[in-house]
Structures are given as C-alpha cells and as structure tokens.
C-alpha cells in the first residue's frame, strides 16, 4: 500500500472515521483482538469433534486423521490459544473429572494443601503465593460443596479467576522441577539451570508448555494425562503419549502444533 500523504484513501479514512490511517489500523487491530476474545472463550462448551474437521476442510491429511478419531473421541472442548492453553486445558479437564469423583477430589485436596508448604520452603514469597493458593483452594472447595459443571465453566471463563488458577499450576510445575532438579537438569542442553528455566519458561504467564512442563505437573500432582498428537506426520492415525510414563490417564488432551484442547471419550 502506498504511503502517500495526499492519498485519497487516507483522506477518505480520515473523513469517515475521524482518525488518521495509522490510528484507524490500530483501532481495527483492537477490534479484531476483541473479536477473538469474544468468539473464543478461554474454555468452550463441549462440542462435537466435527467442528475440528471444519477448520481443516481443505486439508486431506488432517481431515482423514480427525475422521479416524470420531469413534474414540466424539467430543472436544477448545481452549483459547494464549500460551496458557496447556495449563487451562489440564486444569479444566481434571477439575471437571473431580466433579464426579469424590475419592480423587479428597486426594487432590490433600496434595494441594501440602503443595503450599513446599512452595514456601522453596522460597516463593508467601504474600503473593497465598493469594493464588487461596483462590485455587476456593475453587476446589466449591467443587466439593456444590459440584456444578456450569459453575466450573464460568470460573474458567472469568479471566481474573482463570488466570489465578493458571498461575498456581505454573507454580506447582516450577516447584516440581526445582525439587527434582537433579533429574530434570538432564533435559537441558548447555549451562541453563533448572532455576533459570523456571523463571523464564514456567513461571511467566503466556509462555507455552513443552513436554517437560507436562511431565513435571502431572508427576507433581499424580494425575495421568494422555496427549493425542494431531500433526502432518507420515503415520495414518494420530499418535498418543501418556504422562507421566506408565500412569493410567485420567484425562485426554489434544495437541496440534502449538496448542492444546480437551478430548472426551464419551
């Protein structure tokens, strides 16, 4: 596009919007961003898997693999792609399971109660930590007192609440990595320490998750997760992998390069 000050288009933009072209572009970007937020909730309703195929209509490889998944996973719940999607997908899918599993809920509550002391012992500042812990526990208690799927979904779609939960899951992941630093150190090349990794790739919001995040969080909580991989790979069907290795999965997540959603078997 020409950057001409006498450009009639620029004049037209200014006359109709009262803004210069740059301002109008920025305003439009804001609108698009807002639209993404409006149309993609942080966590969606449970949808038939066919909605996923609709995204790949012109893509025979993906279409075929998705069709093959219909029988095993008829439903999907999408999460917003904001770099926190693994934590949000994991958090929601697992807590949704807790709605109907009292024994697991009891075990989870004890694990979380203990986690606070571990975090403090590792040197996390208790002033801010407690804020996130209290909110997390508030949601767990809510599940115990009044197990309601619509309430849980509302909680995860409320940006403030939802992000507080994500932060606590990030802190749990960081704590596990630091506690078992001798083991996790093997995953890093070069001189990067576990502590460095945690403060750069785990604790900050919007940082995407890798296998190491998933291994650490699922090991720390003792919650098995199956990840189904949907990619352009040679194999006919989508592969899957269980975290931590050997633990029976309680929830299933779908991975597409750069993004996690939730899958449902029935």
């Amino acid at each position: 596009m020409a950057e001409n000050p006498d450009n009639p288009i620029d004049e037209e933009i200014e006359r109709s919007t009262g803004m210069t072209r740059d301002e109008a572009i920025l305003a439009q970007q804001d609108r698009i961003q807002k639209e993404v937020e409006d149309t993609n909730p942080l966590v969606s309703e449970r949808l038939p898997l066919v909605v996923l195929k609709e995204e790949y209509q012109a893509d025979p490889v993906y279409s075929k693999k998705i069709e093959d998944m219909y029988a095993s996973f008829p439903y999907i719940r999408k999460t917003r792609g904001d770099g926190n999607c693994f934590f949000r997908a994991f958090g929601f899918a697992y807590m949704e399971k807790l709605l109907t599993d009292k024994a697991e809920l009891h075990r989870f509550k004890e694990t979380i109660e203990k986690s606070k002391d571990t975090l403090i012992a590792l040197g996390f500042p208790s002033f801010t930590l407690m804020d996130f812990y209290d909110t997390f526990m508030e949601v767990v208690n809510q599940i115990e007192e009044k197990p309601s799927l619509s309430e849980l979904l509302a909680t995860f779609c409320d940006q403030g609440m939802s992000d507080y939960l994500v932060v606590y899951l990030r802190l749990l992941t960081s704590a596990e990595l630091q506690k078992e630093a001798d083991f996790y150190q093997n995953f890093f090349e070069g001189n990067r320490t576990v502590k460095e990794f945690c403060s750069q790739e785990v604790e900050p919001m919007y940082k995407e998750s890798d296998h190491i995040h998933i291994i650490a969080l699922t090991s720390s909580l003792g919650v098995g997760v199956r990840v189904v991989y949907l990619d352009r790979g040679e194999n006919q069907r989508a592969n899957h992998h269980d975290f931590p290795e050997g633990m029976p999965p309680q929830i299933v997540l779908l991975y597409r390069p750069g993004h996690y959603d939730i899958l449902y078997g029935e």
Binding site: T128, L129, D131, F132, D134, A154, G160, Y164, P204
Partner: protein, 179 residues
Amino acid sequence: MASQNIDPMLPTMQNKEKKVNATRRKDGHSVTMRLQRELMNVMMSGSTEVSAFPEGDNIFKWIGTVKGPKGTVYEGLSFKLTLEFPADYPFSAPTIKFKTPCFHPNVDEQGNICLDILKEKWSAIHSVSSILVSLQSLLGEPNNDSPLNPLAADTWNNQAKFKELVHEFLKKNSKNKSS
C-alpha cells in the same frame, strides 16, 4: 474468604445469585484489589530501606523510594522511582523508571531500567515490595555484561571514580530537570 458483600436476604433466584457471584469474583481478583493488598503489604513491612505509595488518586501509578545500600557508592542517597501498572497486572510487569537521576550500568539517561524480573522473567508471584528490594540489590550488584550505560559499566571497577560520577550525574541532571 467470607463473602461479606452478599446480603443473605437476597432473593434466591438462580440468575440473581449468579450475577452476585460473578461480581464478587471480579472484585476479589481485580487489579485494583491486588494493588490495594500490595499497598498494605508495603506499608506493613515497616521497611526503612524501600517504600512506595500511589501518586494521587490513581492506584495504577505509584512513586517508590529506594535508599542507596550501605557500603556501596550509593550509600546516603535516596532514589525516587515511578511505577506504572498495566491493566492485566500482575500477569504483566509494571513499568518502572528512575525519577531521580541514577548513574548505573543498568539504567539509561531517561531512567529506564534493565532488570530481568521486569522483563522476560516477570511472573505474577513478584510484588511491589519484592521488586523494590531487587532494585536496591541491583544498585550494589550491577550486571555489567549488558549495560544500558557503558561508561558506568566501564568505570565500575574504579569505585572512587564511580562515586564521583554518581554525584556529578545527579547534580547535572537534577539541574537540567528543574530549569
């Protein structure tokens, strides 16, 4: 936490209940609430080394003070800072600048600061008081590998000379500001 703002006599209509719930959540986890808790935390700490307070009525803009750490070239000086909080605080870092001219390897002439926890290492677990403490440490322990002020980084090993430059910089730039 007790839900103090909910009138127990409220009608139990599903919709209404939901609305109250949503509002309470929003209040309890809004940026404003977090900043108010932080303000309380800073004030209750009773620290004489660092302090901070909102500038006027706007809770999103604070003025902070950090004393030059004892036993360093900054001893006896006191530095004012501006703190600006983004709308998605604490998920994004505040913008912090030195208001008092500060000759330091990791501070530029405009007062911008290069500190990892304010950039790529920011996380919601940090707070105003922990940042101020980190900034005070930064004064005495600069990172000379990636300086914003190369002259300061080069002079750091000559502490006597460095101290002179600190005072010169303060004098020169304070004068410029008031004229």
